[in-house]
């Protein structure tokens, strides 16, 4: 397979993992997070440090990376979730900026130069590169999808959905809003941490600017475009947002404008996303199905 396509596909797969995590927080639990890139970054930096400074292999470090990212997610989640919806948006933006500033300004994280020389992932003696690494990412993506699927069928997921719909009514049936918001945060940030580890070993060089606020916006766009709260939405969104810049590449100079205008039109006229309940895509699909039947 063409090396260029493999790279794009790998980035899309990693983004899909991170976006799935955001989908748990925003789509399942109804909490807005505009700082998800920060946790992607925390996962990446943790993986990078464990690999370069502690010499741990990807596999040994991975549980630690996910645990540390989720723990920080829990820590930052506690004060964030005491505040109302609108405050939460701003607080998460703030988290993004502060985390980025920390990575940029402290020598431990390599400062403005970031961390380089991150080794490839090794499966036994084989160093994974190109297509093989893509398969690794797809494997983890499948894992994440299964976890999400299980979550929708578990009481934990049902509690999150109920809380998302009507917090007061959820409390009246025994669902503790704080507990389940934090649970969603922990799961979502943990997934972001996983994506971060994969990213670090893929790019082999990371710096703070890779994880800034625009990426948080991108991630939110992915789940919005794909369909918030749906199972496949994050993947569809990651694919679309990942492919768009390539599709519009010919219009080099106008690429970003097309991208942002498309986003604006999308959110203005189809906020439910492509896989959303009442979307044009679904209705069109249903119509063609009906036409096919008669």
């Amino acid at each position: 397979m063409n090396g260029y396509l493999v790279t794009i596909a790998t980035i899309i797969a990693i983004n899909a993992i991170v976006a799935s995590g955001l989908n748990v927080i925003v789509g399942f639990a109804g909490q807005i997070s505009l700082g998800h890139a920060a946790f992607f970054g925390i996962g990446a930096y943790t993986a990078a440090l464990l690999a370069t400074k502690a010499g741990l292999s990807f596999w040994v470090a991975l549980p630690g990376v996910i645990a540390i990212t989720a723990a920080i997610g829990l820590l930052l989640g506690i004060p964030s979730l005491r505040v109302r919806d609108d405050f939460l948006a701003i607080t998460t933006i703030g988290i993004n900026f502060i985390v980025e500033a920390i990575f940029n300004n402290f020598e431990f994280f390599g400062g403005a130069l970031g961390i380089s020389g991150i080794p490839r992932v090794a499966l036994f003696t084989l160093k994974l590169r190109g297509t093989e690494f893509l398969y690794l990412c797809l494997f983890f993506l499948a894992l994440v999808m299964i976890i999400n699927w299980w979550l929708t069928r578990a009481w934990a997921g049902l509690a999150c959905f109920a809380m998302r719909e009507e917090e007061a009514a959820a409390a009246s049936v025994g669902i503790s809003p704080v507990k389940f918001k934090l649970l969603a945060f922990v799961i979502g940030t943990g997934m972001a941490g996983l994506g971060g580890a994969l990213y670090a070993h893929f790019m082999r060089f990371i710096s703070a600017s890779d994880f800034s606020f625009p990426l948080s916006v991108s991630l939110l766009c992915m789940i919005v475009v794909g369909g918030i709260g749906t199972l496949w939405g994050p993947i569809l969104g990651a694919i679309i947002i990942g492919i768009l810049p390539e599709v519009f590449r010919p219009l080099i100079n106008y690429r970003i404008l097309f991208y942002t205008t498309l986003l604006l039109l999308m959110i203005r006229f189809q906020p439910g996303g492509i896989l959303g309940e009442n979307s044009a895509a679904r209705r069109l699909f249903a119509k063609t199905l009906r036409r096919g039947k008669s």
Partner: protein, 287 residues
């Protein structure tokens, strides 16, 4: 001591600019509960329009007037065609739309005017002042005076006129304001007009003060303004002004006087998190 006073006065100037930027955001949030990040887009356009009209006419007054009109129009268009139809959706929907607008405007500015930093060599017809042995240049004096003028006008409108009363009623409870015969949609649009016009003034002032006009000049103000309205109390215009002043002074004194090695822009967010810990409604918010 001299340095302290200089930095203090600088800080007040910075705080004044922050309040002009943040006022519009606070007013819009107060009346629509939407985080109007696109406000920074209007601020940027205000700067560019001001520069354009100034270069065309040579008159600063014409530039300010023209820019205010363009921005007011833009604000209303955004409100009517983007925000209002999206009100029935969860709050992150208009938020994403707002961010998309800001990013699109940045790109348009880059494509139309170019990515380079343009200069705004206008002379603000204000005198330099000598206070307590320190000289403040005419630009800073201009900032003080213009900000004071805007604040006084806004205060007069909101407290002394019927329009102001309607605005305050609609921001407390729109359904009841509607029931009492107040055309709340009209009030919302007027709020956008006022907020956007103030943003235009802020854009021009910032352009002249720093002598820089460039496509992404709205980005940092956008996020800082968010932190400021949290600190000041969401939707409280007086709170926004107080918080802006405090932040302006804190930033300048901490960095310029006490030389604390913090990235300047992080101060706003750290302050925000601190305030949220202490009192989640902010300095002047209501429970």
């Amino acid at each position: 001591m001299q340095l302290f006073i200089e930095q203090l006065l600088n800080g007040i100037a910075t705080g004044s600019i922050y309040s002009l930027i943040t006022l519009g955001l606070a007013l819009v949030y107060g009346i629509m509960r939407i985080l109007h990040i696109a406000h920074a887009a209007i601020f940027t356009i205000g700067a560019y329009m001001g520069l354009l009209f100034f270069n065309l006419t040579g008159s600063l007054l014409a530039a300010i007037a023209g820019s205010m009109v363009v921005c007011a129009l833009l604000g209303v268009l955004i409100e009517r065609f983007i925000y209002f139809p999206l009100l029935k959706h969860p709050p992150f929907v208009p938020l994403i739309a707002s961010i998309a607008i800001l990013l699109s405007v940045e790109e348009l500015a880059r494509l139309i005017a170019g990515p380079q930093i343009l200069t705004f060599p206008a002379l603000l017809p204000f005198p330099a002042l000598h206070v307590v042995g320190v000289t403040i240049n005419s630009t800073i004096t201009a900032v003080y005076c213009i900000t004071a003028l805007v604040l006084v006008l806004l205060w007069a409108i909101t407290t002394k006129t019927e329009l102001g009363l309607a605005m305050r009623a609609a921001s407390q409870d729109r359904a009841i304001a509607d029931a009492m015969g107040i055309n709340s949609h009209l009030i919302i649009s007027i709020t956008f007009v006022i907020g956007s016009a103030i943003a235009a003034i802020a854009g021009i002032l910032v352009g002249i003060y720093f002598n820089q006009v460039y496509p992404t000049m709205g980005a940092i103000p956008a996020y800082k303004a968010l932190a400021i309205i949290v600190v000041g109390g969401m939707g409280s215009a007086p709170g926004a002004v107080v918080a802006s002043m405090l932040l302006g002074m804190a930033e300048t004194l901490l960095i310029g006087y006490a030389n604390i090695p913090l990235p300047r822009d992080a101060v706003a967010f750290i302050a925000m998190i601190g305030v949220l810990m202490w009192r989640s409604e902010g300095i002047m918010g209501s429970r």
